[in-house]
Symmetry: C2
Subunit: 425 residues, 2 copies
C-alpha cells in the first residue's frame, strides 16, 4: 500500500532542522521526505497537520504475555510476588491464555506508538503469532533456564522453533535465544545458548545485573560478575540484548561496550521492584549502545514507552546532578535507533530517512499539555502521553489511524484476555 503522510512536522536528520512536509511510503519503505514526486500515487492519505512524524518506538525488553498480571500484585517483595502470585498463575497458562494475553499487549503497543519489541517468555509461538496477527515486529526470545543438560534438551526443540519462525510474517519475526539470567542459568546453560546462537546466527536476549543480590551471588558462585560470566560464556559473540544492567561497575561497562552489547534500560521496573538506579549516562558517555524497554506489565504496569522515556531523561539528570544530562533528543534516539540496533533491524531502522523501513508514528502535538509547541522532541519526552499517538505505520502498513485500529477487534481482544485470566483462577 502506498501511503502519503501529508503536512507533518518532522526532523530532517540530514541537517537537524524541523520541517513541515509530506512523506511518501511505498513497498514497506520510506520513499521520500519533504517533497513527494508528482507521479507518486497514494492509496491512502494520512493528514498529519498538528502531528509530529517520527520513527516508531522500539520496546527492547518486555514479556508481553504477562499483561494478564497487570496491577494484580503490587507493592510486594520480589520473592513473595513471584512465589505466591506470578508463578502459580504462569504454571496454568496454556496456548490460548498466552495468545490472548499477547494480543492485549499488541493493541497496547500499537496505541502507544511501538512497532517492534524484544520479548522473552515461554510459549513464544503464541506470542509470535499474535505479533503477525497484529502486524508488529517481534524479536521472539525463547526463555532458557537451568544447566547444560536442560539447555541442550530445550535447544533441540528451539531449533525447530527457529526454522519455523525466523523471518515469518514477511520478516516481522526474528528469533533470539533467551538464556534467562545468571540466577536461573549456570555457565553451562549460557555456553550452550551461545553455541546454538552462533550455529544458527541468531541473537541473544539475557537479563544481566538486575539486582545487587544477583551480582553478589554470581561472584560467589563463579568468581565473576554477571557481565563477565556472560562474556566468558560467549553470549556476547552474537548480537546480544542485555536487559537491566543496573549494578555494573566500570569494568563491566567497558566489557559491554567493547563487546557491542545492546543494553536495555527499564527504569519503571527497576524502581518499582527496588532493584536500583541504572548508570545510563555513564554507559552512554562510554559509548555503549542503549535502548529502552518496559519490562513486563506485571512489574511496570504497562507498556508505555512515553513513561519510560520521561523517566530515563529525568533520572539521568537527578543521578548525575546535572540538568543538561541526557537531553530529549538522545532519549528519543535510545527509544528508536538504539532499540532498532538491539533488535538487529537494518542500519536505517529507527530513523526517518529515505529507504528506511516505514515504521512511523504520528503524534498529536496540539493537545493543551503540549501547547504552545516549542520543540516536538522535548514534547515527546517531557510533556506528551502515549494517548497522543495518533497513527501508526509498521513495515509500510497502517495499523492505527486517528486512534482507530482498522485490522483488530479491540473489544473482543479485551474480552478474550479477561476470560483468559479468569481461566487461570
Amino acid at each position: 500500500m502506498n501511503i502519503l503522510i501529508q503536512h507533518g512536522m518532522y526532523f530532517d536528520e540530514t541537517d537537524g532542522e524541523l520541517r513541515t512536509g509530506d512523506i511518501a511510503v511505498a513497498g514497506g519503505k520510506i520513499l521520500n521526505l519533504g517533497a513527494v514526486p508528482s507521479e507518486f500515487h497514494a492509496d491512502h492519505i494520512l493528514k498529519a497537520a498538528g502531528c509530529f512524524v517520527t520513527p516508531a518506538l522500539v520496546n527492547a525488553h518486555t514479556h508481553l504475555a504477562m499483561s494478564l498480571f497487570r496491577n494484580l500484585a503490587d507493592d510486594m517483595s520480589l520473592m513473595d510476588w513471584l512465589e505466591h502470585k506470578i508463578w502459580p498463575l504462569e504454571e496454568k497458562m496454556g496456548p490460548s491464555e498466552l495468545y490472548w494475553a499477547s494480543m492485549l499487549s499488541m493493541v497496547e503497543l500499537i496505541r502507544g506508538g511501538v512497532t517492534a519489541s524484544a520479548d522473552m517468555y515461554f510459549g513464544m509461538d503464541q506470542v509470535a503469532q499474535a505479533a503477525i496477527d497484529s502486524g508488529l515486529r517481534l524479536n521472539a526470545a525463547v526463555g532458557l533456564t537451568g544447566d547444560r543438560r536442560t539447555a541442550r534438551e530445550k535447544l533441540r526443540s528451539f531449533r525447530d522453533f527457529f526454522h519455523q519462525w525466523e523471518g515469518a510474517g514477511e520478516g516481522l519475526i526474528r528469533v533470539d535465544i533467551g538464556p534467562h539470567a545468571p540466577y536461573t542459568c549456570d555457565d553451562g546453560c549460557f555456553e550452550e545458548a551461545a553455541a546454538c546462537a552462533a550455529d544458527l546466527d541468531c541473537g541473544i536476549h539475557v537479563h544481566l545485573s538486575e539486582t545487587a543480590g544477583e551480582v553478589e551471588e554470581t561472584k560467589n558462585r563463579f568468581g565473576l560478575s554477571p557481565v563477565e560470566l556472560a562474556a566468558r560464556s560467549g553470549l556476547f559473540d552474537q548480537r546480544c540484548i542485555a536487559a537491566h544492567c543496573v549494578h555494573v561497575d566500570r569494568q563491566d561497562i567497558e566489557l559491554l561496550n567493547n563487546s557491542n552489547v545492546h543494553v536495555v534500560h527499564n527504569p519503571s521496573s527497576n524502581l518499582k521492584l527496588a532493584s536500583g538506579f541504572a548508570r545510563v549516562k555513564e554507559m552512554m558517555d562510554m559509548g555503549v549502545n542503549l535502548a529502552i524497554g518496559t519490562d513486563g506489565s506485571s512489574s511496570n504496569n504497562n507498556l508505555n514507552m512515553f513513561e519510560e522515556m520521561h523517566l530515563t531523561a529525568l533520572l539521568a539528570k537527578a543521578l548525575s546532578g546535572d540538568p543538561t544530562a541526557l537531553p530529549a533528543g538522545q532519549v528519543l534516539r535510545m527509544a528508536s535507533v538504539g532499540g532498532a540496533a538491539a533488535l538487529g533491524l537494518p542500519e536505517s531502522g529507527g530513523r526517518l530517512r529515505i529507504g528506511a523501513p516505514a515504521d512511523i508514528i504520528l503524534v498529536r502535538m496540539d493537545g493543551v499539555h503540549n501547547s504552545p509547541l516549542h520543540d516536538p522532541r522535548a514534547a515527546m519526552v517531557y510533556s506528551a502521553q502515549a494517548a497522543d499517538v495518533d497513527s501508526v505505520i509498521c513495515n509500510g502498513r497502517l495499523l492505527m489511524e486517528r486512534r482507530r485500529l482498522p485490522h483488530l477487534d479491540e473489544v473482543e481482544i479485551r474480552r478474550k484476555a479477561q476470560e483468559a485470566f479468569e481461566h487461570l483462577q
Copy 2:
C-alpha cells in the same frame, strides 16, 4: 445541578471495599453513595460503567501561568535557564498573557482530573479569574521576594487583593501569601509575611529546601536550615504549604511534622532540574502530611498528576530499597486528601463520602493498558494516563464529560495562549 453518577466503581472508605453503585451529587456536595433515594431528581446522568469514580486530584504546588514556557528551554542548567530564557520573558508578561497562559493550564488541569491547585506567581488576579472562568478551585498565593521593606510595600496591596479575592467564585478561590524562598527573601520578609497571614488568617505557600545549594547558603547567612528559618520567622504559625523539602534532615522533618506543615512533593521538577530526591517515605513514616504537585510547566513540562503519582510511588521504593514502600493507595491519598488538607479545604475534602465537596473524577478503566482490571487504585498509580480521565465534577458542577468541556472553547484558548507567547517574543 443534581448529578447522578450511574454504575461507577468506587472505594467505600467506611469499609475499604470496592463497590459498584450510584453516586448522587446535589448542592455542590456528595448526597449519597451506593444506593440513591428514589425521590432524588437528577438534572444530569453521568454513565460511569467502566470507570473508577474517585476524589478529584489536587495539584498542591504549581505556577500555572508558566505554561507558555513549556518545552521551551530544557536540558539547561538552572541559572542559564532562568537568566537567558525565563526571566526575560516573564518581564514582558502583562495581564492578557497571564490570563491566557492560566486558561491553557486550567484546561490541562481539567483534562488531567485536577480540580484544585495551589499556585504561586505574580499577576495572581489573572490566574484567579481564569480559575473562576473555568470552574476550578485555586489557592492563589501572591509571590513575595526581597527584604522587610519591600515585603511591607507589597503586603499593603496584597491586603486589597485578599479582600477582593478571598472566597470569590462562590468559594472557589482562597488567598495565600507566597514568600517565595529563603534564597529570594530574607528573614524580615518572612516575618512580615507571617504577621500579615496571622492578621488576615490566611495560609502561607513557600518553597523550602529545594536544592543543596539553598540549604548551604541559608545556613551560612542565618545559621539555620531553610526549615528552621521559616519556623523561626513564624511561617508555620498559619496553615503552611512547603513545596519541595528535598534536602531536609531528621531535625527538619520533626519540625515540619510538629508544626503541621503540609509538604508538597514535586518529583518531576526535582529530578529534571537535578535538585535531588526527596525523602518522602521517611517524612510519611514520621507523620508529616504530604501532598503532590507538578511545579510549573516550565520545569516539568506539564501538569500531569498521573505522572507525579507514578514517580512518587516508584521513587519511594527505589530509594528505600523496599518494593512494599508507599503502596498505591497511600500515593492516591497524597494526591487527594493530602492536597486538600494543604489547601485548607474542609476535612472531608479529597474524600468520597457523604457531605464531602463534590470534587469527583471518573477515570476510564477499560483501556487495554488498564486491562484486565484487578485493582483500580493500582491502575491509577501504575498504569493509567491523564488521558484516561473521562469526566470531571468540581464543586458539584460538571466541567468535563466524556473528554468534552461544555463550558470552555479549547481551540480558542490554545490560539490565545499561542498569541500570548508570540507577543512576548
